[in-house]
């Protein structure tokens, strides 16, 4: 809550904050700074105390070289100027945890001063969009880097531990900690906000751990921070007043303390109160600072040079005259230092630039997983595997261990080698991508990081199932248990497979690979359930992906022409075929005649604009339709008791019709709507070959009662007919059945039956699409003659062909019954 308020104060532009830190870092040495007892924490009470630590008379300090080297590493890492001669001092005050009555420090003559530290600004990802002020990445491969000047670094030692017992009014003292080496880092007030403060401290922590200056336990134990916060009105100079906040224990505390102080001081300034110089302490529970001591009550420390310690001399390679043996050479230490975290990150960006961006690094930094990341990268050779590892770290590992402590535990439990192993296994498909998360959780729970991966896999049986037979068995079992999905498959195959997929995963704990599951189910369905159409749907899910809802269908159909039935016409039957020359027109004409013989009112429309055959078949060549009814509809020509219409009756000459699509569409519309068809029971439409404009417009303009497919038994014809059938299915026109033409030939001389165009073509087609063969018509020479001459076959009542057509007509009537109001 204070965070938002403080940010508001700063971004209002009326105030600016100056924040400086005094950071005490516990050095990671074995023994103490001035005495050889152990510096290790958590030892039995008062068991690591030497005479010097107790300030017994006669004891003298003996300076630990390791502490000096650690201090120099810090100074180099913070880019400080190293003072070759520095002095130890006594800082006098009385307190039980300091038996000598003074602390040895370097207040006025530190060994390092005037440094500069660069640190990246860390922002939470969700805040990037909202706070434009704190944009964290300038370009994909950089961070926003801020800097903070270091005033000085001084060597000093720690005091004992005091425990206050209020009930007994006493203080208990443990001197184990007395004398452990510390460095105090004092910064200039260059920090401008709590975010900068936290980023600075985190980066500093990283540096200290990397350079082996302090132990890796975070801000809580190895590092203590005091913050000096002052808020000023913009355009006023800082007046030197500042508030010191002590007792800050963690990174979160830092932010809260600074934010609270900024808010508090803003309140004072706004109400024109001066800001007192004081010392406050931070209350972790209440997230606020509390007054401790006024500045005027400051203690006079009476600094004095420590007489028991001569001046500290440091050397580098430039020094010719060295008076000390076993001296400390700054340049030697510089050589042994690893690269700074800043440089290391830059190196990573360069080395792994194929897949690593500054954003990734930023996340890794935020999660405190940089070291883990580095170790894992070293374990893997292939950049591809590394990329996978990075993704896994930023997703799966992040959700398992989402705070600093948990990450450390994870890094311990799942060693980089184990992690790399897991990645390799996933890559080789020994383990599936699903089980990766479970596997990581298991390994994390188990504390023994030396256990090989194999033992985990064996124990929990996490190997991927790859045996094909077993997979089939599993799939069959699941299908048995979930019969509903099979039904679902018919309407929405994609969804059905997804459902089966999730059921399988749950049941078998993700031991089957994603794609294998899908493939197995697909194959099963194809084998057992397929219509060609569903196969088509599987392979090209795009075209038949999901069924649109009725609303969607309505919306989609808005631009399309509405299907309106022709007035007075009860049924419209289209006779089509994918292929040309199979006998559509002959079949349609004779069917129409057969129907009319059954006392129905029949009309025939020749929809083949480019090749009208009806005039020839019905002996209407060179006739034109010229008469109009009272309602301005064209009267169709009538022959053989059929109402006929063709484009040939409307165009002037007998020549070719060279029209583009649009004109063709308009012609069809005219033929449908502007002809006086009514009253009719059946209108038979003779379609042209193919699946083009005309078929489509017909299907869209009027509701087709049925489609009759004509084919010859040969494969060549079947191929095209299949396309036509699917097209009609697509436009939702019901297909009545198949008429197989040229099915057989009876020799005139000997009567031998010869199936010239192949056998069972129509049957196989019918089986494929679940369609019925309505009739099989043989090649008949008389039929052909009659067609050419325009004498419909049904004139001769006793031919086989005539009875076949009669049967066909009866079938049609059965399929499409009419309600007859008049009987001729």
């Amino acid at each position: 809550m204070a965070a938002g308020a403080a940010a508001a104060v700063l971004s209002s532009g009326r105030f600016y904050a100056l924040i400086g830190f005094e950071i005490h870092v516990k050095l990671a040495t074995n023994s103490k700074m001035f005495s050889p007892s152990s510096a290790a924490p958590a030892q039995p009470t008062n068991s690591q105390v030497t005479p010097f630590d107790m300030a017994l008379p006669g004891s003298l300090p003996y300076f630990n070289r390791a502490c000096l080297e650690a201090g120099i590493r810090a100074a180099i890492g913070l880019n400080c100027q190293i003072n070759k001669i520095s002095h130890f001092e006594r800082k006098h005050y009385f307190y039980p945890d300091s038996p000598a009555g003074y602390q040895i420090t370097q207040q006025r003559y530190p060994f390092a001063s005037n440094g500069l530290f660069h640190y990246p600004l860390l922002v939470k990802k969700d805040k990037i969009k909202s706070s434009t002020k704190y944009k964290f990445v300038d370009s994909p491969n950089s961070f926003i880097v801020k800097q903070c000047r270091i005033d000085r670094i001084q060597l000093e030692h720690d005091t004992g531990r005091s425990i206050h017992d209020e009930h007994q009014n006493r203080t208990l003292i443990d001197l184990n900690r007395f004398g452990t080496g510390l460095i105090e880092i004092v910064t200039q007030p260059d920090i401008k906000s709590s975010l900068e403060g936290e980023s600075f401290l985190r980066e500093l922590n990283r540096l200290l751990i990397k350079y082996n200056i302090c132990e890796q336990s975070g801000l809580e134990t190895a590092v203590r921070v005091d913050a000096n916060v002052s808020l000023h009105r913009t355009d006023t100079k800082p007046d030197g007043s500042r508030v010191e906040v002590k007792n800050i224990g963690s990174f979160i505390d830092v932010r809260q303390a600074i934010d609270f102080e900024i808010k508090r001081q803003e309140q004072l300034l706004v109400n024109n109160y001066p800001i007192e110089k004081e010392t406050r302490t931070f209350d972790t529970n209440k997230h606020q600072t509390i007054h401790l001591r006024r500045k005027e009550d400051q203690i006079d420390y009476r600094f004095m040079i420590e007489p028991n310690l001569p001046p500290l001399h440091l050397y580098d390679n430039n020094d010719k005259q060295i008076q000390q043996k076993d001296f400390v050479n700054i340049d030697e230490i510089k050589k042994t230092l690893p690269i700074s975290p800043l440089e290391e990150r830059q190196e990573f960006l360069n080395k792994y630039k194929d897949f690593l961006t500054a954003e990734h690094l930023h996340e890794l930094l935020r999660l405190d997983m940089m070291d883990y990341f580095r170790d894992v990268m070293n374990q893997l050779d292939d950049n591809r595997l590394r990329h996978i590892a990075l993704e896994v770290i930023l997703n799966d590992v992040k959700s398992i261990s989402y705070d600093g402590r948990k990450i450390r535990k994870f890094a311990q439990a799942v060693s980089p080698t184990l992690f790399a192993d897991i990645i390799k296994h996933v890559d080789k498909r020994i383990v599936t991508r699903f089980s990766l998360y479970t596997l990581l959780t298991l390994c994390n729970k188990n504390r023994d990081s030396t256990r090989p991966l194999k033992s985990f896999l064996d124990e929990h049986n996490m190997y991927a199932i790859t045996d094909e037979n077993e997979l089939e068995k599993i799939c069959l079992k699941i299908l048995e248990e979930n019969p509903k999905t099979i039904d679902r498959y018919k309407t929405n195959p994609k969804k059905a497979i997804e459902q089966l997929h999730s059921i399988t995963c749950k049941k078998h704990h993700g031991r089957i690979h994603d794609d294998i599951v899908n493939d197995t189910f697909k194959h099963y369905f194809l084998k057992n359930m397929s219509t060609r159409l569903n196969y088509f749907r599987m392979i090209f899910p795009r075209y038949h992906s999901t069924k649109p809802t009725p609303h969607q269908q309505n919306m989609m159909a808005r631009g399309l022409p509405k299907r309106t039935p022709i007035d007075g016409v009860q049924h419209v039957i289209a006779v089509g075929s994918g292929k040309g020359g199979v006998g559509k027109s002959s079949v349609s004409v004779n069917l129409a005649l057969a129907l009319s013989r059954l006392s129905y009112r029949v009309g025939i429309l020749d929809a083949d604009i480019f090749g009208p055959s009806i005039p020839t078949l019905l002996n209407l060549r060179n006739h034109k339709a010229t008469t109009l009814t009272k309602t301005n509809l064209i009267e169709p020509l009538i022959n053989f008791n059929l109402k006929c219409m063709s484009i040939a009756f409307l165009t002037k000459s007998d020549g070719p019709v060279v029209w583009r699509g649009l004109m063709v569409m308009q012609a069809i519309e005219k033929l449908l709507r502007q002809i006086a068809w009514s009253p009719l029971d059946y209108l038979i439409v003779d379609l042209p070959p193919g699946t083009g404009d005309i078929q489509l417009s017909l299907a869209q303009l009027i509701p087709l009662s049925g489609v009759l497919m004509v084919t010859t038994p040969q494969e060549l014809s079947l191929v095209d007919v299949r396309k036509a059938i699917e097209m009609f299915r697509l436009v939702q026109a019901p297909i009545l059945g198949i008429v197989e033409n040229f099915s057989t030939y009876f020799c005139q001389k000997c009567g031998h039956e010869e199936k010239i165009f192949g056998e069972n073509g129509g049957e196989s087609l019918g089986k494929e699409y679940h369609l019925k063969i309505l009739q099989s018509l043989p090649i008949d020479i008389y039929f052909r003659q009659a067609c050419d001459e325009g004498r419909p076959i049904s004139e001769k009542n006793d031919t086989i062909l005539w009875s076949k057509f009669n049967n066909l007509a009866n079938e049609i009537v059965k399929l499409l019954p009419t309600d007859r109001t008049t009987i001729i």
Binding site: P36, T45, M54, T159, E166, T171, L172, P307, H313, F327
Partner: protein, 126 residues
């Protein structure tokens, strides 16, 4: 060479330093010695006066000497190892204390000191 900031008082034999109550409080606090009565204060004032003679010496051109052995450089303990011989045993540490409590040295309760996180005793555990 390091430079000192030495605040100098102007030398005067006749002026006597007077200890006012604020100064008295400060001295008591710094030295942990309490001034019992007027006589003690007077004694202190006299001691200060007589030692003021030190200001007669002109030390402007001299650096203060704070160690007798000027050429010595800070010696370094080369090995960072724990020495158990030099470490006292706990009973030795507690030997001279009048009151101890469970290996802890005991002092009178004073209060919080700066730059130290103070631990409160959890009385439910004791």
């Amino acid at each position: 060479m390091s430079l000192f900031l030495l605040s100098r008082r102007s030398f005067s034999v006749l002026t006597q330093i007077k200890i006012d109550p604020n100064m008295q409080k400060k001295l008591e606090h710094l030295s942990l010695i309490s001034f019992q009565n007027e006589q003690t204060i007077k004694k202190v004032e006299q001691t200060i006066h007589s030692s003021d003679i030190i200001h007669q010496a002109n030390v402007d051109h001299l650096e203060p000497l704070y160690t007798l052995v000027q050429t010595e450089l800070c010696p370094l303990r080369q090995e960072d190892i724990v020495s158990n011989e030099k470490t006292l045993q706990t009973k030795q540490v507690l030997k001279n204390a009048s009151t101890t409590y469970e290996d802890y040295l005991v002092a009178r309760m004073i209060g919080k000191r700066d730059s130290q996180t103070v631990e409160k005793v959890d009385t439910t555990k004791l």
